[in-house]
Assembly symmetry: C2
Homo-oligomer: 502 residues x 2
């Protein structure tokens, strides 16, 4: 007997069986998964939380917008909660699993059509299941001069899901939501809304102009559960004439402040057009060795041990890479300006570096981080501050102190996007070791709380912390989201708990 999945909360076994039978008619019985074995691929949870707390009630694989509408009708009828995913690889934030136990995963990976790539306007229109790899291949096959901006998950993940989570990348198009243009969403009642210019009959500018007329709604459908997004327009970066990637390194930990204060005006002037990630020695070292090769004692690895090992691999205390794009003539004066500025701040400048993610080369480098301890546990924290050196240093001190207390290394990349800095921190641990899991869970919660206590809000979080984080942004924010939720999804069937919204 195959083990059956958990029942949705408040739904009887008989009622759920009827719902599943009707869902089978909508998507075909082969696309309704309820056996625990069949659901295992969805249950890989990199978070510091036991997957069982977020066990799904099944997965429905819809292939068309009409099937999504059909699924919504059934789920509304039986009040079955539905957790939409696109590629389902929200690494370090919860993967494919729902924010509460007992939801049906609405898996949209079969909706994987690239509906348009326009080389004149540098735009694309994609479905949820399209991956960056697929889009990259499509562009390469047509030999189009277009570049992609992708997050750490690179080839495995997709632009629709990453944009809805407000993910970021490494080129001038790093703010994915800011470079999205036009959505098609299926509302809970099955009606189809196209945002921006998309709902105007005969429009030619759905992917050209974001706002349309009237309230600009697209932001509503990011980090939320108000509808199912089935198409997303993207702006793509025209391939630059050439580029040059620069590595800047600082030898001492205290240089972080100076580095951030040097980067900010260069970013705001546009001299540097892409985000500036300052990898610390620990994070950079994870690309070269495993933790156990370096250190077997308890507690976090002492900084001097990390730094000594890092230097053997050409890594220093802070390691910044960014890229100048344009013609050789356009790059030359920018290179002069940045070289002067970073040298004045005490950095060593290498103007001939290579960073694949900044130059349209899909890669799996981010996954080396998982080998640092092994066991597949990973949680990201992204506390935001203004792009001020003093704030970055304060965040570093908070992180080091809390993580150290729980025996975790400080693996971080404070990243200046513009006026904002996201202090990206990785918590890696062996998910199979219950003690390590518990330790990571405690450390994560303490660290997140410490950041919030100091006014540094996380801008994204895993399924186990969504409600806590949403609540930190205040009662009125919670109430407004809830009011909109009720207006657009009165039965509350779409992804309850997502971003803390019920």
């Amino acid at each position: 007997m195959p083990r059956r999945a958990v029942l949705p909360a408040g739904v009887s076994s008989a009622s759920f069986a009827r719902a599943l039978a009707q869902l089978s008619k909508v998507v075909g019985s082969g696309h309704v998964l309820t056996d625990r074995e069949a659901l295992l691929p969805y249950e890989k949870l990199m978070l510091a939380a036991p997957a069982d707390e977020y066990a799904p009630s099944g997965a429905i694989l819809a292939a068309t917008v009409e099937q999504v509408q059909g699924v919504l009708a059934v789920c509304n009828k039986y009040r079955v909660p539905l957790w939409p995913i696109s590629t389902g690889r929200n690494f370090g934030y919860g993967g494919a699993l729902p924010a509460t136990r007992g939801q049906l995963i609405l898996d949209l990976k079969r909706m994987d059509r690239i509906l348009d790539v326009d080389p004149v306007l540098s735009t694309a229109l994609v479905e949820p299941g399209v991956t960056y790899q697929q889009l990259h291949d499509h562009i390469a096959e047509r030999n189009l001069p277009l570049w992609l901006d992708f997050p750490g998950g690179g080839p495995l993940v997709g632009p629709l899901g990453n944009t809805l989570e407000r993910g970021t990348g490494s080129t001038p198009y790093a703010d994915h939501f800011a470079h999205a243009c036009g959505m098609e969403v299926v509302l809970a009642d099955g009606r189809i809304l196209r945002t921006g210019m998309g709902s105007l009959p005969g429009t030619h500018s759905w992917q050209a102009y974001r706002y349309g007329y009237g309230p600009h709604l697209d932001g509503l459908f990011t980090q939320s559960n108000f509808a199912v997004v089935t198409k997303l327009g993207l702006w793509l970066m025209p391939a630059p004439a050439s580029y040059r990637t620069i590595l800047v390194q600082y030898s001492d930990d205290s240089a972080l402040e100076r580095a951030v204060d040097t980067i900010r005006p260069l970013r705001l002037a546009g001299t540097i057009a892409n985000p500036c990630a300052l990898s610390n020695a620990g994070l950079a070292l994870t690309a070269y060795m495993r933790r156990a090769e370096l250190y077997q004692n308890g507690g976090a690895i002492p900084d001097n041990v990390v730094l000594a090992a890092a230097r053997q691999h050409g890594i220093d205390a802070w390691n910044l890479t960014f890229t100048l794009y344009g013609t050789v003539e356009q790059i030359a004066p920018n290179l002069e300006i940045v070289t002067r500025a970073f040298e004045m701040s005490g950095g060593r400048v290498d103007p001939d570096y290579h960073d694949p993610s900044q130059v349209n080369e899909l890669n799996l480098e981010a996954f080396r981080l998982l080998d640092w301890v092994g066991g597949g546990g990973l949680v990201w924290l992204d506390p935001v501050s203004a792009a001020r050196g003093a704030d970055a240093a304060r965040q570093r001190d908070i992180a080091r102190s809390v993580l150290g207390r729980h025996g975790f290394d400080y693996l971080a990349a404070p990243t200046v996007y513009g006026r904002d800095l996201h202090h990206l921190i990785a918590l890696v641990f062996d998910h199979g070791d219950p003690q390590a899991l518990q330790r990571a869970r405690t450390a994560f919660r303490e660290l997140a709380a410490a950041f919030l206590h100091n006014g540094y809000g996380l801008c994204r979080t895993g399924i186990d912390y969504m409600t806590a984080l949403a609540n930190a942004y205040g009662d009125v924010n919670v109430a407004v989201n809830r009011a909109i939720k009720h207006a657009l999804d009165p039965n509350g069937i779409l992804a309850p708990g997502k971003a803390g919204i019920r």
Copy 2:
């Protein structure tokens, strides 16, 4: 006896009197205006519509957020509709007047504090009544290296109102909403929501990071009536090291297509960082002469007459200006690239032009347009297309044909913002002449309908066309806006009819 203002729809005279008495307690009786004489300043309507159709029931001048809350409480109690304005100078779209007859204007011009200007982050936080002139003066007094981007109304209007209308300017920060960061809004029930990072206790990044956590709500409060916005964060452009404004001119009308197709890749590559407005001969000529000096016959002025007069003032068929910003060394290669590209497209390039709006110089130049015929009538149309030459030419042909049929000159500035082109068209007429008003009204409606029929949606419109335009974007769009409206303003007291939302 002073004439009394019109009653709000569905509110009895006695009930309105009670409401006004309570409003006097909230804001002080001197700040409750109901005499028609006192309301005259609000009733200047540049639109092609008689002001009387949009007559207000009075004006309430609130000075604080607490007063706004108090006003909302009274208006909810008596179901009095409330039309919030900031500086109230929405020139060419309706000025200060409400979208339906019989609303109380909530005038926020007394809320005119500049709450913060941060020269390190290049940000500001302002109240509704702050004008660009005031902000400019503040920055000049403190001698801060910060530039403003402002719309045609320049010194007279303000960043909060213009941003909420999704207005645009002339520098790299032209998309005002995209450069806004953080709002404070008072909901209809009086609760205060701060968006983005603003609702996080102790935050330091309200003006640094736009999104916060959870759905990004800011877009909801643009071109809508869901709340009263009482504070707005702004990103300001760091003053560039230097700049160089370029004029490109084309002699023949058919060059429009080539010009747009030349601009687009330069804008997308970032070689040109600000919008590229192509003023036609007619629009450019309005800065130099009055229509009657040139032509006294009926109908639109023949193109050859316009062009001959224009050339006497150094104007040609199409006149493009844009600016290169940066150090002299950064500008040099860009100047070479753009010169080569525009010369290849048949343009004449003058690399030493001056355009005040592109270089932080507030000015009233846009108002010269009103003198073309005199009488203060002005309507703007902004049909959007993708930034393709063929679309710009098609829009031009539509405009010329419809306007010509009604005896109006084609005065236009097709403007490439990025992937989008807004074909800005001015309809100027004598508002005091009933026949001219009626002719303008008919021409406007025919032209707007012709654009919509061809898939070119307007991105902004006057109070007399809001419902028609909103409906053109489809039933689902209307229904979603209405559902959100009902959720956030159940009594529908805020600006009924704004953006077609009731």
